[in-house]
């Protein structure tokens, strides 16, 4: 467990530091724009009242808008999952599968978060703040945790080394 914990922290801090660099931001900013586009598309599919501009999402009817900032684009939860999967001893094929499924699970729930916050914000500012700052942050991390636990349970368990047979003569040195 110690090896996993150290590797996890090193990888996570490295990924977080990279996220802050210009190359990291060159990936994160367009991604956040895509999240805003996808959220607007999802809302339009139901009531046709949203459009996105950059990383913001607006309502045509009320003029209400939300901006998707760091922490709301699902990137941090994906980095935590990435660090958790990379740090855990497992075959590379399973790591790639775990990451792919985890990314979809996190981003799918993140879309639900943004759409729900978009409607909550138009309804009640206090509920919006609660859901935004406390409830959804917890739920997204729980999502990453569930994916990681399920992934760990899917890894074949390491085999115990066979015990020497009592009748077997000791090997000569």
């Amino acid at each position: 467990m110690r090896r996993f914990a150290i590797l996890f922290v090193v990888i996570l801090v490295g990924l977080f530091a990279f996220e802050l660099t210009p190359p990291g931001q060159a990936l994160v900013v367009p991604w956040t724009g895509l999240v805003a586009d996808a959220s607007a598309g999802l809302i339009r599919a139901f009531d046709g009242d949203a459009y996105s501009a950059g990383k913001s999402l607006f309502s045509r009817k009320t003029g209400f808008g939300v901006t998707i900032e760091a922490g709301c684009n699902g990137v941090e939860a994906m980095l935590v999952l990435l660090a958790g999967i990379l740090a855990f001893p497992a075959p590379w094929k399973l790591k790639v599968i775990g990451l792919a499924i985890g990314a979809v699970a996190i981003q799918a729930l993140n879309l639900v978060r943004i759409v729900s916050l978009f409607y909550l914000g138009q309804w009640d500012a206090q509920w919006f703040e609660w859901a935004h700052l406390y409830i959804w942050q917890s739920l997204i991390m729980l999502d990453a945790l569930i994916v990681w636990l399920l992934w760990i349970r899917a890894i074949p368990r390491p085999q115990e080394p066979p015990l020497p047979h009592p009748a077997q003569p000791a090997a000569a040195a």
């Binding site: 467990m1 996570l12 801090v13 977080f16 530091a17 996220e19 802050l20 760091a70 922490g71 941090e76 935590v80 700052l133 406390y134 409830i135 942050q137 917890s138 739920l139 997204i140 991390m141 729980l142 945790l145 569930i146 636990l149 399920l150 760990i152 349970r153 899917a154 890894i155 074949p156 368990r157 390491p158 085999q159 115990e160 066979p162």
Partner: protein, 193 residues
């Protein structure tokens, strides 16, 4: 066997989801001590990194720091300045609710002494986020740079500390502590031959 393991994960998650609103409500009503303790614990961090003297005041779930800074000594004059920053502590302290929901959701982590120790840690842990939020605000205040004297390394360190303290620690801290408590749930056991 795998279905059983999967079911166990979903059961823990389901129970945690049911308990989370209860513990979030409890956290909300315990706001004053849960704000004061990390606010006090953050004060020396702000003092060391800013290089000034720091006074803390609590107002509800907000913490105010008054930071008094001095520019490097020049003959005949020592410029001084005082800056006020306000940090909303609630966005750093709610992780204890997530931890308690997870800890009681899994049989493997229901150890009252360990839960108490982890809870104490989670009351103090938000100090990092609070301190770096205050430091980020100080760094962004126009005219303070000559008094702070931060190099590029310190500025980048404060930016990283703020990101980690705001986006990661409030939720990752409780989850990490729970994983330590519930390690029997996830640490691989060797398969029998």
């Amino acid at each position: 066997m795998r279905d059983l393991a999967r079911r166990q994960v979903f059961l823990v998650a389901g129970r945690a989801l049911l308990m989370l609103p209860i513990f979030l409500a409890a956290w909300y009503f315990a706001g004053t001590p849960l704000t004061w303790v990390p606010g006090v614990a953050a004060t020396p961090i702000v003092r060391v990194i800013s290089g000034g003297s720091v006074a803390m005041q609590q107002q509800g779930r907000d913490i105010h720091y008054t930071v008094k800074l001095e520019a490097p000594y020049r003959p005949g004059v020592t410029p001084r300045v005082a800056a006020d920053v306000e940090v909303g502590a609630a966005k750093f302290t709610y992780g204890i609710a997530l931890f308690l929901a997870l800890a009681l959701a899994a049989r493997e982590s229901r150890d009252s002494v360990a839960i108490l120790i982890c809870s104490v840690l989670l009351v103090v842990l938000p100090a990092l986020g609070i301190a770096f939020d205050a430091l980020k605000q100080l760094g962004a205040t126009p005219g303070l740079q000559p008094f702070l004297g931060w190099g590029i390394g310190t500025r980048e360190g404060v930016a990283l500390g703020y990101q980690v303290g705001t986006l990661l620690l409030p939720t990752l801290g409780p989850v990490a502590l729970w994983l330590v408590l519930a390690r029997r749930l996830w640490l691989p056991e060797p398969a029998a031959q």
